[in-house]
Amino acid sequence: MSKMTIPLGPQHPALKEPVNFTLVLEGEQITGSTVNLGYNHRGVEKAAESRTFLQDIYLIERVCGICSHSHTTCYITCVEELAKALVPERALAIRTLVAELERVHSHLLWLGIAGYEMGFETLFMYSWRDREQVLDCLEMVSGNRVHYGINTIGGVRRDITAEQKKIILSKISYLEERTKYYVKLGTEEPTVLARTQKVGMLPHDVALERGAVGPTARASAVKRDVRKDEPYLIYDKLDFNLITHDTNDVFGRLVVRVLELVESYKIIRQVLNYLPEGPIAVKVPAKIGPGEAVSRYEAPRGEDFHYVKANGTDKPERVKVRAPTMANYPSVSYMLDGGYLADVPMVIAAIDPCMSCTDRAMVYDNKAGKVQIYGWDDLRKYGIEHYKKRGIDFSKM
């Protein structure tokens, strides 16, 4: 059979965000694949340089629509380290609580997407319905469902009352029951097993070599979790297990995520019972630095990494974000090769991709064979020329 090249994306029902996978097919089998990024580069890092440290929290929060708390906490840890602020224990505990609620919400969302990608709509509907419970908790704690805005430099903005604690505990008990059902469903339902087992294989040594992070790595039996390796917030005081699985396939990633839900419930209970008395924030001066700091954070999708350089003013000189999806892309192309076209959505969804968080753009001159650096004026000129060719003139704006 002749080879056929089909584009998957940037607009495709399997993808929630724009990215392009070019697949070379022989019948139903994939013989080659390339990943093309850059459809949704928003220049967040550059924009962060023109805002104050405090304003940046709200910008960084919008890097991702799911792990928004992960990004702000990771960024704020850098800033607080530079400002030498002593964050109160209660604030750290509340941050941990929101972080784990966020992990629950993200993993339930993933479970739904996985169901949808394998055509199992009932699983999608059920897990998204249950996800509403944890979203309600987050809304009650922070005032928002997705962009919580609970972090501020030096602490958190809202406290947790005894009443809220009770409601969260009851909702967690309900979710724990539901999760038991999902564990049963995920490990026993024949079509789920047929679509996940031996699909998207990522052997242990390849996962290490390609630097996979998060549940993707842990499903290949890589013991890698920042919460254990380099505890931040109050994770060193908590008792939880590092979940790994050794099947190396999409099934393993499903099991790891569902079992992590159970661990998250455990953590949430411990944090709520631990919750020390005291203030929830300290004052931090607006001008910070000079100096530079990095911090690592275990987001629901894997290790998140932030770098902040301060120069003594109220604005950062450089902010660098490395979202977990970036680290998992190299593994995707390995997993796609030799697989079936029908498994592509499952394989891509299994890393829980977040294209927009991770997007990169680079201008590469093919003839000269080198990278070109564009300034703001060059970009503006390029944009105007690009649209002029299509008959729209923006030069007078």
Binding site: L25, G119, F120, M125, T191, R195, A342
Partner: protein, 316 residues
Amino acid sequence: MTIDPILLALIYILIFPGFIFLTVYGLFLQWFDRKISAVMQNRVGPPWYQALADIIKLLSKEVIIPDACDTVMFKILPYFAIAAVVTAALLLPIWTDALCSFQGDLVVVIYLLTIPTVTFFLAGWSSTSPYATIGSMRVLTQLFAYEVPMMLSLIGPAILAGTWNISEIAGFFTAHKPYMLAQIPAFFVALMALQGKLERVPFDIPHAKNEIVGGQFTEYSGRLLAFFYLAVDMEMVVGAGLINAIFLGATLGTAGILGAVIFLAKTLAIVFLLTLTKVLMGRVRIDQMVRFCWQILAPLSMAQILFDIFLKFRLG
């Protein structure tokens, strides 16, 4: 006053049990399927006129025909699909015995029901876009997988009844109701094969939207797409009617309005089973589907045939 036979034939073909009835009942079954699955999935589901509204909306949309495709083929295929399904409906017992009934009409109905699938394949193939091409190859692969178990499962009851006439098979099972229970494995095989024929979960592989967008219908739009969807809905009525006639004794010896009510009730029950299958499962891969049909469904229906032959000898 006697009604002109030509007028009567036209009424049969166009109104009942032909085109209009199939359209209305097909759209109703589509809504029923969607509403029931919505309730099972803890959703609200569409209002009763949704299926009709969808068709009207599609009919009013512009038809876009890709430059690269075979224009004539592309345009006439939806009508072929509908014509085949309506013809098959005339051979089924609905409110009384079938309108045209002859030895071997079972085989004719099976062949007529294969025509829509072939038009789906040709539709995808003549669209020439990569998604449609892959979709149409899957349609054909799937056809070879479910068609044989489907035929084998329908042959069992025919052997037991000793006739190839659908109405006579229905009559046999009406007279010997306990034998219906002996046909449960074949009934199950026929249901699963029908699920594959109608391209529903877990066998909606040809138009799996996460993989190949719209599959064989990717390039279709407007009126032509509406007629394809209508053909699928009608196929559901005819498929459910065929299973009703072969395995459940059709009208159970009644006629007129009571017969029609029995037909509606039993086809609704069959569609309910199809919906249940759809809700309980995810989509399988094409190789898994072929394996399932050939390793489980086909041997099961073979065993049923052997059992029926044995039973036939015992009956004498």
